[in-house]
């Protein structure tokens, strides 16, 4: 701990050039705040760095002041309608899809991947979190159609990157994009008196999966999953810096982050976050490095009280293995807890996380 702190300190000096850019997380903050606004449909004042500053204040040396981020407030039903897959747009999925329109179709028409990949995908389609198929605009009778679409997406991806192929967890990630995109299409289609449009949604799910595996979780699904371990080590160091007592508590109960966190990343937080939090959380991941680390810290900090109150391995792992872990003792989803905790996590300057990340890579 002491060793790590000393190596980190230079990065936290206010004069550090790396930190002299208060806008380092501007785009991320803006995207994040934008979506929270849509979710909460609230009229609170523009986002402040107040909770963030409070957390950083606990860390020695003194906090780095983050400039308030101007937040564009969406108005009108059109923006709200787009909110459900705003994260897809932010990830550039639409642009990619239009730019390389034929790639997905070509991959679908290409020779099939090895038979063991196909059979694994098929078995897993029925075992992918069925809650992801429940959607307001996606009647149950269309579930088989959705599954076939998801099958095509996963097999196309296995053709695109045969060395990675198909890894369990990808289904959760692609299904979310497929449904979110299809829901929007369905709304438009109904307005025009037509049926569901699935080709666009399918291609969007494919590009989202590619974006996730290349940009958000690079190397996480590669053989050996070394990137997962690196990320977990980084998360541990970041938590040690931010809330050492929470980390000590988890350690004392035998709950290592390596037990619970890999599944967060490999499903892109789809199972650990309550459904209402998924959209905004995905938006927060757009276009920024180390965003998954911030989000994972947000998950931990948002459940801090519950975790600290837990007195057994079972209680802490339960709180960290499912979306219901976000509920407090009164079985009430702690509204806004993730939002606040995520904001606190965002206060960890990117440069500092990078520094931690480098030291993890060197280790």
């Amino acid at each position: 701990m002491a060793k790590h702190s000393s190596t980190l300190r230079p990065a936290m000096e206010p004069q550090s050039p790396a930190l002299s850019t208060p806008g380092l997380s501007t785009a991320f903050n803006r995207a994040f705040a934008l979506n929270w606004r849509m979710e909460m449909a609230a009229d609170d004042p523009p986002e402040e760095a107040k909770p963030a500053a409070a957390v950083v204040a606990a860390v020695d040396p003194p906090p780095v002041a983050l400039a308030p981020v101007p937040v564009p407030v969406p108005v009108g039903p059109a923006e709200m309608r787009h909110a459900c897959n705003h994260w897809l747009a932010l990830a550039g999925v639409d642009e990619e899809r239009q730019l390389q329109q034929s790639l997905y179709a070509n991959l679908c028409a290409a020779p099939p991947p090895p038979s063991d990949v196909i059979s694994q995908v098929e078995v897993d389609l029925t075992r992918t979190d069925l809650r992801l198929y429940e959607c307001e605009h996606d009647p149950p009778e269309q579930a088989p159609e959705r599954r076939m679409a998801l099958r095509r997406v996963l097999l196309a991806f296995a053709r695109l990157d045969p060395s990675t192929g198909y890894v369990q967890g990808m289904g959760d990630i692609a299904a979310r994009a497929l449904l979110s995109s299809a829901a929007l299409d369905g709304m438009h289609a109904r307005a025009n008196g037509g049926g569901l449009i699935t080709e666009r949604a399918e291609a969007a799910a494919f590009w989202w999966l590619r974006h996730v595996t290349q940009s958000l979780l690079p190397g996480f699904f590669a053989p050996g999953m070394a990137a997962v371990w690196e990320e977990v080590r980084l998360l541990r160091r970041a938590l040690m810096l931010l809330q050492p007592h929470l980390l000590a508590h988890l350690d004392e109960l035998g709950c290592e982050l390596a037990c619970v966190a890999p599944s967060w990343y490999l499903t892109l937080f789809q199972r650990i976050l309550p459904r209402s939090e998924c959209g905004p959380a995905l938006t927060s991941l757009a276009g920024r490095k180390l965003a998954t680390t911030h989000l994972a810290l947000g998950v931990l900090l948002s459940r801090e009280h519950k975790l600290l109150a837990a007195r057994s391995f079972e209680a802490v792992t339960q709180a960290l293995c499912s979306a219901s872990g976000a509920e407090d003792a009164q079985r009430r989803v702690a509204a806004g807890a993730l939002r606040a905790a995520h904001e606190a996590a965002l206060a960890i300057p990117l440069a500092l996380l990078k520094d931690l990340s480098d030291s993890v890579s060197d280790a």
Binding site: Q120, V123, T126, G171, T317
Partner: protein, 212 residues
């Protein structure tokens, strides 16, 4: 609830052999035809009784896909027992046992008790691996062996409890230094009250009567 000992178990084996269903049957006494994919590891716990002693089983249910092997390897540490599961209707899951066993032996403590389980005996008409083959593999590698059905619950209790019994016997024989938690065994408060273990303790977690 107080326990005399806590044993850590790990359930391993190819994807789709029924690891999570075995755990659910053991902890909740129910079967779920379609179980969510296990990504990484999931956890279960149940109290059992052996030799009038309350023993808590802390069970780690792992992902079976080959891609997750490196992650699963880190979960063997500190396990007292392993349930190595194959599907009697899919021969390839039996063929992969050696590779699983290599992993288990290499990444666990040498005294870890391993129970080999041929699951899905309710699908007898689709059987691809005979009981004798399973038994022979177990004999050759020094494993305990049972065939189970997570669906009908046949032998599920026995699979978990016989493993615990074997671990308990090793404790009695002094094989383990139980103060060293790397063996996957924790001594609870109840173990320190020799001869005064309350065998009638019943809490929220079901307690077995020690059937074997």
């Amino acid at each position: 609830m107080s326990y005399a000992y806590l044993f850590k178990y790990i359930i391993i084996g190819d994807t789709g052999v029924g690891k999570s269903c075995l755990l659910l049957q053991f902890t909740d006494k129910r079967f779920q035809q379609v179980h969510d994919l296990t990504i990484g590891v999931e956890f279960g716990a149940r109290m059992i009784t052996i030799d009038n002693k309350q023993i808590k089983l802390q069970i780690w249910d792992t992902a079976g896909q080959e891609s997750f092997r490196s992650i699963t390897r880190s979960y063997y540490r500190g396990a007292a027992g392993a349930l190595l599961v194959y599907d009697i209707t899919r021969r390839e899951t039996f063929n992969h046992l050696t590779s699983w066993l290599d992993d288990a032996r290499q990444h666990s403590n040498s005294n870890m008790t391993i129970m080999l389980i041929g699951n899905k005996t309710d699908l007898e008409h689709r059987r691809a691996v005979s009981f004798e083959e399973g038994q022979q593999f177990a004999n050759e590698h020094g494993l305990i062996f049972l065939e189970t059905s997570a669906k009908t619950a046949a032998n599920v209790e026995e699979a978990f409890i016989n493993t615990a019994r074997r671990i308990y016997e090793k404790i009695q024989q002094g094989v383990f230094d139980v103060s060293n938690e790397s063996f996957g065994i924790k001594v609870g408060m109840a173990a320190q009250q020799t001869g005064s273990v309350n065998v009638s303790i019943q809490g929220q977690q079901r307690s077995s009567s020690g059937c074997c």
